[in-house]
Structure formats: structure tokens, C-alpha cells
């Protein structure tokens, strides 16, 4: 099977330019002092990542905080560009990364669904066709015509999730999606993700909840300090992760 996501020696460097001029006035002062550029501190979030993910796989990414999981997802969705190497993604991506991102507090739930859907590239008619599914999934009911500012946090998250899983993208990126929402809704989300997977979608699942990752994924990538330290079947990778975490605590 051909790879739907391909990372070829991918590295990502962030510049921690606390010292870069952030305003024209600052730039002017610097120029007067004759120092245009202060040397920037660098931070490598990912180093030399190589992997391929075939269509239809459910892949978990685990690793300690700051190991580069979210950066990897952002590279997959084209939000970030790699510093070195190449990222190849041959399909449409639904960013689950930002649950509820793109929602506006002054607009109603309905208006927000249309806005969010269009930001994922859907036309008005395409959103219309999915509208009932989205609202049904999110269990919003009559609140759909109420301004979003009156929603509870849970309702906002559910609506965001409802849009993201209904846009028909081939790749679903789930970044800590289960951190919010009650138990019943979490189960519903997992069921929905499994269903998408059975329809042949590719799911990338990032979580600190190793138990859920074990339950859901066929394959797991373990990241540590921006490097890929393990890539293989779930059981083996999770074991490696536990060893890694134990070593950290010593």
C-alpha cells in the first residue's frame, strides 16, 4: 500500500528570538546602535524524522511533554513547514488539533458551524448536507441558534469535534481530543474515530493516555526530545515508552 503521509529526514527548528526587534521603533533604535540582528537562540523540536504511514492505519504518537508530538501534527497539516527534509501528505486533512478553533463568541452555533466548515474548505451546500449529523453528534439541540458565548465549555468542544469528524477528510489528526468532555462523550468520540477508521480513513492519535492508545492503535511512534526512538507494533512501542518514562524519573 502506498504511503499517505511520508516524513523524509524531517527536522524542525524554532527560533526563540526573545531578542528580535518586534516593532519598527525597536528596529530603528537597533539600527542607530549599529546592531541589526541579535543572535537568535535555537531549539530543535524535531530531528531527522523518517516514517511512512499507509492509508487506513491508526497510528498513535506518544512521548513526554515537549518531545515534538504537536509539532509533528502541525507539519502533517501544513500549518508549519519543515526546516530540513520533506513532508509529503497526499490527502485532505481535518485538523482536530484545534477543537472549536475558529468559533466566534458573538455568532450562533449554526453560524459558527458554517464558518468553521468553510475554513476546512467546504462549500455552503456541503456544510448544509452535513449539518444535521454535526449537530446530532454534538448533542447541541435547540442551543444551535444561541450565541456561542452562552455555551458551556463542554458544548463548545462537542460542536468543534462534531464539525471535525464530519468534514470527510481522509486524514484525522486527534491531539489530546479526549482531555475534555465527560466519559459518555469520550466513549462516543472513540466510537466515531473507530468508525472513521473502518471507513478507510487514516487516523493519527496523539495522547498522554497510554491505555487509550493501546486500545485504539495498530502502530505507535514514540518521540523523545524530538527524535523518533521507537516505531512499531503498539505493545512493543508502549513498553519502550514506559522504560523511557521510568528512566526520566530516576
Amino acid at each position: 500500500m502506498s504511503a499517505i503521509i511520508r516524513f523524509d529526514h524531517v527536522s524542525k527548528k524554532y527560533k526563540l528570538h526573545a531578542d528580535r526587534p518586534r516593532a519598527f521603533t525597536q528596529l530603528f533604535v537597533r539600527a542607530m546602535q549599529g546592531q541589526w540582528r541579535a543572535p537568535a537562540d535555537e531549539f530543535w523540536a524535531l530531528r531527522d524524522l523518517c516514517f511512512e504511514i499507509p492509508k487506513g492505519q491508526m497510528v498513535g504518537i506518544i512521548g513526554p511533554n515537549g518531545s515534538g508530538k504537536t509539532t509533528a501534527l502541525k507539519l502533517m497539516s501544513n500549518i508549519l513547514r519543515p526546516t530540513h527534509g520533506q513532508v509529503d501528505v497526499r490527502a485532505t486533512v481535518a485538523g482536530l488539533i484545534g477543537l472549536g478553533a475558529g468559533f466566534h463568541p458573538d455568532l450562533t452555533g449554526r453560524e459558527n458551524v458554517y464558518l468553521n466548515g468553510s475554513l476546512m474548505g467546504l462549500s455552503r451546500r456541503e456544510v448544509e448536507r452535513r449539518f444535521d449529523d454535526i449537530v446530532g453528534f454534538a448533542e447541541i439541540g435547540d442551543f444551535i441558534d444561541v450565541q456561542l458565548r452562552r455555551y458551556s465549555t463542554g458544548m463548545q468542544v462537542r460542536l468543534g469535534f462534531g464539525v471535525a469528524v464530519n468534514v470527510d477528510a481522509e486524514i484525522i489528526l486527534a491531539d489530546e481530543v479526549l482531555a475534555v468532555g465527560d466519559e459518555a462523550f469520550q466513549r462516543k468520540c472513540l466510537d466515531r474515530i473507530r468508525q472513521l477508521r473502518s471507513e478507510g480513513r487514516t487516523v493519527i492519535f496523539v495522547s498522554h493516555d497510554v491505555a487509550t492508545v493501546e486500545l485504539m492503535c495498530d502502530r505507535v511512534l514514540v518521540l523523545s526530545s524530538g527524535r523518533l526512538v521507537e516505531d512499531g507494533p503498539t505493545a512493543k512501542a508502549v513498553q519502550r515508552y514506559h522504560i523511557l518514562m521510568a528512566a526520566r524519573h530516576e
Partner: protein, 260 residues
Amino acid sequence: MFNQIRLILRYRHAIRNIAVRDLKVRYSNSALGIVWSFFNPLLMTLVYTVVFTFMLRDSGVPKYPVYILAGLLPWNFFNLATLGAISAVTANSPLIGRLYFPREILPISIVASNAINFLIALVLLFAFIVIYRVPLTLYVLWLPILLLIQIILSIGVALFLSAIHVFFRDTQQIMEVLLLAWFFVTPILYPLERIREATRPFVLLLNPLAALIVNYRNILYAGAPPNLGVLAATFVEALLALIVGFAIFHRLSPAFAEEL
């Protein structure tokens, strides 16, 4: 570059939705709603008319309210579109960090919502045209062309400023001062004829807003044809602004997510 343009066109629904969001938020947050579109230019017209026809010696411009509105409304459109677009990218940082879409649609939507606002405000101008019995000629049919040139220019400036603002956060303050200066060097409150004759060609050539407003007045106030030579030059300038703005935005936008 052409791929990017095709991508932007595919997101036209998003442009419309963001523009509508902008208008809805602007109007529904105030009890008077859409009345504000008229109220601000109406009040400014009143002030300028009192100042320039009663307090100062009469400017000698007949039907002054029509005259002032024909210049003020296009200026307001440009002014609000550029000032609004400056923060179009930075204000949407939660979106940019989490969702991929062509970033260009953010400043473009701001120009779109202000264009709609301009069209609404034009009703006021036409009301004054009727009240003051300014004869309308067929030259008014040039209006869509003028509007198109102004939109092209505004999008170019909007793309440039919104991208720069991500890296230099005092762009807003700088532009507020520059736009105020721009307002006074543009013949809005005074006729082009008050400018020294030797200077006029430079003003029309170097200031696309002056060229546009002179032509808006030709077709809406004087019942005269537009100055085609000036209009052609302005069109070229607007296209240049669009190309440069687009190129700079395109070059800087991959770094937006990291910078915000």
C-alpha cells in the same frame, strides 16, 4: 503562485463567511445596527458642510454635501479596509495555529466586508443626489469599474500590511498617522483645483486615492466622464500593489504560525 490563487478561490465560501461575520458583529453589537453605516458619514458631512460653507468663507463648491460624500465615502472604504486588515492575521492567531487554510483569505475578507459597507453607504450619497437634484448621467455606469480598481488596490495594501504586522506590531500605530496624513494630501475636503496647477499631475499620478476620488466626483457629482488616462494609470498602480502585496504575503505567511 497560480496554484495559490486557485486555492484562494476554492475558499471563497470562507471569505464570504468571515466577511459576513465581520459585518454581523459590527452591526448587531450596537442597538442601532446598520444605521451606523449612514450615521457616521451623515454626521461628518454635516460637520464639513458647516465648517466649509458657513464658518470659513464659502468654498464656492455648489451642492457641497454631495461633493463631500462623493469623496468621503470612497476614502472611508479605503481607510477602514486598510486599518481593519492590519490586524486581520494577528487577531486570528488561534485559527492559524490550528487549522490550515490559505491565510490570504483573512485580509481579503476584511476588504470584502468594507466593500459591502461602502455599497450600503452609497445609498446615502444617492439620497443626497436626489435631494440636491444633481443630474445623473450615464457616466455613473463607470462606478463598478472604479469600485473594482479600488478593491484591487485595497487588497494589495491589506495583504502587505497584515503580513508586516505579524513581525512588527507597531504597524497599526504607524499606519494610523500615515493614513491621517494621506487623508489631508488627498483632495477630499477641497477641490483638486485648489492644488497648484504644476503639482496636480504628480498628485494624480502618485496618489491613487486622489485619482480615484477625482473620478468618483466626475461621474457622481459633475455628470462628467472619468479621466481615462488617469484611470488607466491608477489601474496599473492598483495591479502593481496587488502583485507586490501578494508576493510579500506569500513569502512571509509560512512563518505566521511560528510567529504568532
